[in-house]
């Protein structure tokens, strides 16, 4: 059974059909790319997958469960986590707290236990702290733990967003243009990190990106959409040479 199975996904904004009959299948720990011209509907697909937008039509099954009509936070529990095209961090909180918030659902002490500082509180908070530090370490950001998120350099902010998403223990991680605003050197670093994450946590990754070096470099499978419709699917090499994709997206 596929981890994520999307069928006939469609959304309309007024008269505009932003996504039209989108389909995709992603298996466990697969690295998949989603590309297409600006305004093709990629981010909109993410928004539907994560419950931010309600699709007009179509079905989404994640880990065997239907997610259409579910709230974003419910979908997180089923196992999808994402980053945003325009970074959305908890700007005025520390880096550590950003990650800990994403651990929320892995802790279980209740309001009363929290307020009266019962032993479970201490135990779980300690664990959360340790796990957060571990995660930050992977991104080489341990020293920023007490920094406010808004004071991080841009590239680190993108990384923190990924770390935060990972803290929800997802089965699939969706990254929306993680390399935007990074220079080629930083992009290369990022590519390695994504690989590492996939291997370490054994999760699937769905990636939107315009930087072809990144997409072609790490994706095992790529779906291309234009005007909300799929125009091509396949391995990176096939996509690279697909005339439709060249015409609509890659250019020559």
């Amino acid at each position: 059974m596929a981890l994520l199975e999307v069928k006939d996904l469609t959304i309309r904004f007024g008269g505009l059909t932003a996504v039209d009959g989108f389909e995709i299948r992603i298996d466990q720990s697969e690295l998949v790319g989603l590309i297409g011209p600006n305004g093709a509907g990629k981010t909109t697909v993410f928004n539907m997958l994560t419950g931010v937008y309600l699709p007009t039509e179509g079905s989404i099954t994640l880990d065997g469960k239907n997610t259409v009509g579910k709230k974003p936070y419910d979908i997180v529990e089923i196992g999808a986590a994402r980053t945003f095209q325009n970074i959305r961090l908890f700007k005025d909180l520390t880096v550590e707290d950003n990650v800990k918030i994403a651990y929320h659902n892995q802790m279980s002490y209740n309001l009363i236990q929290g307020i009266f500082r019962l032993p479970t509180y201490w135990k779980e908070e300690k664990k959360a702290h340790e796990s957060a530090m571990e995660l930050l370490d992977i991104f080489d950001m341990k020293m920023y733990a007490k920094t406010l998120a808004k004071n991080l350099p841009y590239g680190k902010q993108r990384k923190l967003e990924i770390a935060r998403a990972l803290a929800t223990k997802p089965k699939i991680l969706m990254l929306d243009e993680p390399a935007a605003g990074m220079n080629p050197y930083e992009t290369k670093e990022l590519m390695e990190t994504i690989h590492f994450i996939r291997d370490k946590f054994n999760i699937a990754v769905l990636l939107i990106e315009h930087d072809m070096s990144l997409v072609m470099g790490i994706c095992e499978k790529i779906t291309v959409i234009d005007y909300g419709k799929i125009i091509a699917e396949g391995k990176p090499d096939e996509i690279k040479s697909n005339p439709n994709v060249i015409k609509a997206y890659l250019g020559e």
Binding site: P37, N38, G39, G181, K188, Y249, G251
Partner: protein, 235 residues
């Protein structure tokens, strides 16, 4: 055209730009490259007077712009397509373009002609002319931002990461357009992460590191320098 002498810029206590001088000559494409947070945006904002330098001076066409009000910079022929697009999200595409021509007093038909030119460059915008700009996709918004800057018919155009978030085909287009605009007589100061492409179309370049210029010179020469390649071009 543009001459920057020993400027320092602070954000509160953060010393973002440290004693920088450079120059853009009439008709040139000059590019500033550098890592995140190097201070590229800060420089552009200082040039268009959104920020004030604590030291040093900036000359536009020989005139010290120290006492020019920010909103008058465009009257002196400088347009700035800012980082993050900054389009007017609640206005339509058309209105955004009109705002670009805010200071122009020419006849309506002349403005319409210029608008047509923008539309020929970006057919996508024409399709979406009545759409509220805030709902455009990222790339569409980027086109709009450039189109809007062009509507003032600037002599010098400051562009802050125009290719950010654009599809490869559009990145090509944007760089073509930049070359076009330049050929048509507009001087360009370009800030880019996509240093490869920027260096390819630029005449000259400055490399910025934490608020200081660490290298400068002919763009094609820099393209081949090893340190530059390694640090900024991913090579």
């Amino acid at each position: 055209m543009l001459k920057v002498q020993n400027i320092d810029v602070y954000y509160g206590k953060i010393h973002a730009i440290k004693d920088i001088s450079f120059e853009v000559k009439q008709g040139e494409v000059v590019t500033l490259i550098g890592a995140n947070g190097a201070g590229k945006t800060t420089i552009l904002k200082t040039l268009s007077k959104v920020l004030k330098p604590t030291n040093g001076s900036v000359f536009l066409k020989g005139q010290d712009i120290k006492n020019v009000q920010p909103h008058n910079m465009i009257n002196l022929g400088m347009a700035h397509a800012p980082e993050g697009r900054r389009i007017f999200a609640q206005m339509t595409v058309l209105e955004n373009l009109e705002m670009g021509a805010f200071i122009r007093k020419e006849s309506k038909s002349e403005l319409e002609q210029d608008m047509e030119n923008v539309f020929t460059r970006f057919p996508r915008l024409k399709e979406r002319r009545k759409q509220i700009a805030g709902t455009l996709s990222g790339g569409e918004q980027q086109m709009l931002a450039i189109g809007r800057a062009l509507m003032s018919k600037p002599e010098i155009l400051l562009m802050d990461e125009p290719s950010m978030g654009l599809a490869p085909i559009l990145v090509d287009q944007i760089f073509n357009i930049i070359e076009d605009i330049n050929k048509a007589g507009t001087t360009i100061l370009l800030v880019e992460q996509n240093a490869n492409r920027a260096l390819q179309i630029a005449n000259r370049a400055y490399v910025l590191e934490t608020g200081k210029i660490v290298a400068e010179g002919d763009a094609k020469e820099l393209l081949n320098k090893d340190e530059i390649k390694k640090a900024y071009l991913g090579g």
